[in-house]
Amino acid sequence: MAKIQRQGAKKQGTLEQMKKGLLTGISYIIPLVVAGGMIMSLALLIFGNEGARVEGTVGNTLRTFGGSILGLMVPLLSGYIAYGISDKAGLIPGFAAGVAANTINSGFIGGIISGFIAGYCVLYLKKIKYNENFAGTMNIFVYPLFGSLISGCIMFFLIGKPVALLNKGLVSWLSTIQGANGIILGIIIGAMACFDMGGAVNKAAYAFGLAAIQAGNGVPYAAFAAAKSLPGIAITISTLLFPKYYEKSEIEAGKSIWLLGCAGITEGAIPFAISDPFRVIPSMMVGGAVAAAISIFGGSSLLSAGGSLLTVPVTKNPVNWLIAVIAGTIISFVILTILKKIKYDKTPKPEKAVEN
């Protein structure tokens, strides 16, 4: 590609490339976690916790079906991270290394690492110089075979054990989050979720929630879901009750973004965050932090992605979760409105300008 060097921009470094790979991987597993998580949670909801575990019943079949879909999460994540790094040639080695990560129980962390390994492995294989006549052979034989073999072996024999231990550590740590620790974790998750309204920081918190779901713990994800749902609702309330602090276009936008918020889509708040970042973002972060902390404190848990008002029926301790969202929304709404009022009071009014 005839890339245009951007002024002041750093060259596309390895770190930048890894970030892009990771976000690519996450973007492909989002629908998977919704499908698998919802099917599993619905089976548990409809057939009951015990009922869905009786062999041969519809409930059990659906529960294990959802579980199997979630089981694809690690290979898929790994495959698309590799795809993001070394393009199509990296996809299959990435899946393969992800299967290895699954086999050794290294979980979500293992999936991320195996994706990076496969991606860079294929990237280096691509640097091998070869005669043009062999292009087909390279693409259809060398890259998939050696890419998978090498990255698979690295997973199994080199870093598999330490990563599996790391994953085990994460799982046991997750099971201990309660009390003060849980609240701190909630504050971090909530603030991150509302920092960039669906951008990279939000996705980092999301990835942590997914890692926990993959480890069978839905508490962090429920906290994330509580925080990410509230900016849209809080902004709508503020624009409805105090229209004089907002532009006409913002009031119009405010009428619809509560709906996005209820569906767990934080992105509706972006236009507000862009036009007035120093008032909107901190007020959302504080509300998000409070909501996530309450969600964790009350032990709300959600094993399906796409968390929002739509997933309340499959949330554990749903009342606490709703309280968390409502409390966070009120806090965000109050802070935002006060900050907007200060700004409004400071802006010279046309009439006053004449008086002066």
């Binding site: 245009i4 951007r6 992105e267 509706g268 862009i274």
Partner: protein
């Protein structure tokens, strides 16, 4: 002047389309013909065709993820930026591309 763009973000439901809308608006305002392909959660929409590529003077890729079929732009000048930059400063991005082409 004819510019083709691709926008894409991790979730593929909001940033992708906001960036596309803002680039389009900025292009219209600057009097530049612009076509924007979105690679969102539902897949590729408004796909850039072979004919578009023949006509195009430059490419903007506004994405936080790896886009599909990046190799079709191999022969064109390409400016890459994050998707949020295209939302907040689309005119600046287009200007930067034009300056890059002129060089």
């Amino acid at each position: 002047m004819y510019i083709v763009c691709v926008t894409s973000c991790p979730t593929g439901i909001a940033h992708t389309f906001m960036a596309a809308a803002n680039l389009k608006k900025a292009g219209n305002k600057m009097g530049i013909e612009i076509k924007i392909e979105t690679q969102g959660a539902g897949g590729t929409e408004n796909k850039i065709t072979e004919d578009d590529l023949k006509k195009a003077d430059g490419v903007i890729i506004a994405s936080d993820v790896s886009i599909n079929d990046a190799e079709r732009f191999d022969k064109l000048p390409v400016l890459e930026c994050g998707v949020s930059e295209a939302i907040s400063d689309p005119e600046g991005i287009i200007k930067e591309l034009i300056e890059g082409i002129d060089k």
